[in-house]
Symmetry: C2
Subunit: 332 residues, 2 copies
């Protein structure tokens, strides 16, 4: 079936009407027109996903529709922001209506779940890639930045680290897992990461800094340390590894993935001693673990890793797809 | 020279500091944090440019830096919005520092000219493409939409149509122009279109509808007609063609390019009879022609083209890169 750009937009992407009261004009004009919230910051983040770099070329379009939004939502979560709108720029090599239906159904399921609206974008021909720009709101003074960590603050992570890297290894036949349930769990953790929006809302005004774990704990925590001019001490034995991960590989491999596998989309945040109790109260009912894995130290002490109180040296860094020798556990 | 993603951002794109008072946090955290204007709509538009589809693969990076912003600014102009911030998602096959310097120098020249700030984006590896999401402000009630045209309104266009398509034809060796000055003018009109921001600001609250001409006059005007549920009558003999265009090809070719060449990035807008005088006052000092080329008609009369008051039939439509048989005068 022949189908032009405007048909694609009308058929697959202009399906919400105006679902939010703060949208004066959505898809279909030169710009979308939005009504700002009072006394709030507008939080904006952009992520590009390129086929063969950020996802496997044969990815199920429903998984891609989900994940493209999830990784963008994760940036809002790390800022403590409430999701509002998103723009989608979709570059496709050709029109495949089955693909488009599956992708857009999944995409809009996530939008609807978070009460968000697609407000515009672009549809172009070219090698498969997506760029999303997401918008959210955060009350002035409650924002979570990377620069607020202070010496003595406790370092927390949400959820379980390393599962996503194991899931990708399974998809790329670098890891073999016999138990179907374990296999499915790890693959799902890679393809369908849960953005920690509720946890981001829960810790705002309580945490001193936050970041989402997209490149790996070590790499991402270092952004906090650099912005906050601090060092850190991390206890490997406190990292929460899922039973699935532990049963699928050696402890060393599991720790490597947990520290530098990337794509966990968990949150890492820092909390002052006096707010630890309130963090417990705020997060306990959300059903996701949150674990204190270390402490912020003076800058001159650098970044220290300990295992059972013994210093360990690991040469691990996060993912950088331009750096030579990118790590094995990212697509391509 | 080896150079990672964070180096690229630091070296070429994180150069403005906080140049705008409404930016609480720019590049370098999970999200940018922006301070909304009061009693204004936030206007957002997204454009993707793919190498070989939207620009020639051998384009000068300075031209690409300029044009990528200009086409996005043109959408703000068509809404009557004041430019504020932009996000840039840049996908590059490899790191070429000469290319990056030239591209970013040009990009920031345009940003500085319009008092805008780059607030974030993404840098990824892959086939060359760019996605920009631009943000601007417009006082509530002054926005220019596509749906406000009414029967009897006069139809205007700014500037000169068709130059850009002729410029592209020159670059693709489909048009030969001997006079260097004429050649350079037409090529520049293709590579360096001037977004009509000031004209957009001038006509807001005076025009009933507006759109920017990216796909071609016929195609773009039809968006206004569809959104406003109207027809239109256009007088070909009233279209303003540049001397350069007229001297370079037949009148028929010039009209074809003016009607459906695309990439003019002029504005097309509609004005009620009683506001024509105020439009003259608002736009006269800007140094760009604005020409009444026809009138809005009842929907059932459709879209009529006249030349010296005689009806003409032209089978021309705007550019759609997914439709079969895309027109010759777009890159690839």
């Amino acid at each position: 079936m022949s189908c032009g750009e405007f048909d694609i937009i009308a058929r697959y992407f202009n399906r919400q009407g105006n679902s939010r009261k703060d949208v004066r004009l959505g898809i279909g004009d030169d710009c979308a027109l939005l009504i700002p919230a009072e006394k709030q910051y507008l939080a904006i983040s952009t992520d590009t996903l390129v086929s063969g770099i950020h996802f496997l070329p044969d990815i199920n379009p429903a998984d891609l529709g989900y994940k493209s939004l999830a990784v963008n939502l994760s940036d809002l979560a790390a800022m403590g922001a409430d999701p509002a709108w998103v723009s989608l720029a979709l570059t496709l090599p050709s029109i495949d209506e089955t693909w488009l239906k599956s992708f857009s159904d999944s995409f809009f399921s996530v939008l609807d779940y978070y009460g968000m609206q697609l407000i515009g974008g672009d549809t172009t021909k070219g090698p498969l890639s997506l760029t999303l720009t997401i918008n959210g709101w955060i009350p002035v003074g409650k924002e979570l930045t990377r620069s607020g960590a202070r010496i003595g603050n406790w370092i927390y992570v949400t959820g379980w680290l390393g599962d996503s890297a194991a899931g990708l290894a399974i998809l790329q036949n670098r890891l073999s897992v016999e138990d179907d349930e374990v296999r499915d769990y790890l693959v799902k953790r890679h393809l369908r990461p849960q953005p920690r929006i509720l946890m981001g809302l829960g810790i705002r005004q309580l945490a001193t800094s936050a970041i989402d774990l997209s490149d790996g704990l070590i790499s991402d925590l270092k952004h906090i340390l650099k912005a906050s001019k601090c060092g850190a001490k991390i206890h490997l034995d406190r990292l929460v590894l899922s039973d699935a991960l532990k049963s699928s590989c050696s402890r060393e491999q599991a720790l490597t993935w947990a520290l530098s596998g990337g794509e966990d989309y968990e949150l890492c945040f820092t909390v002052a001693e006096e707010n630890r109790g309130m963090i417990d109260t705020a997060l306990t009912d959300l059903g996701i673990p949150f674990t204190c894995i270390g402490q912020i130290m003076p800058e001159h002490t650098g970044f220290q890793l300990c295992d059972n109180n013994q210093p360990v040296s690991l040469d691990l860094s996060g993912y950088d797809h331009f750096a030579s020798g990118s790590q094995e556990n990212h697509a391509c």
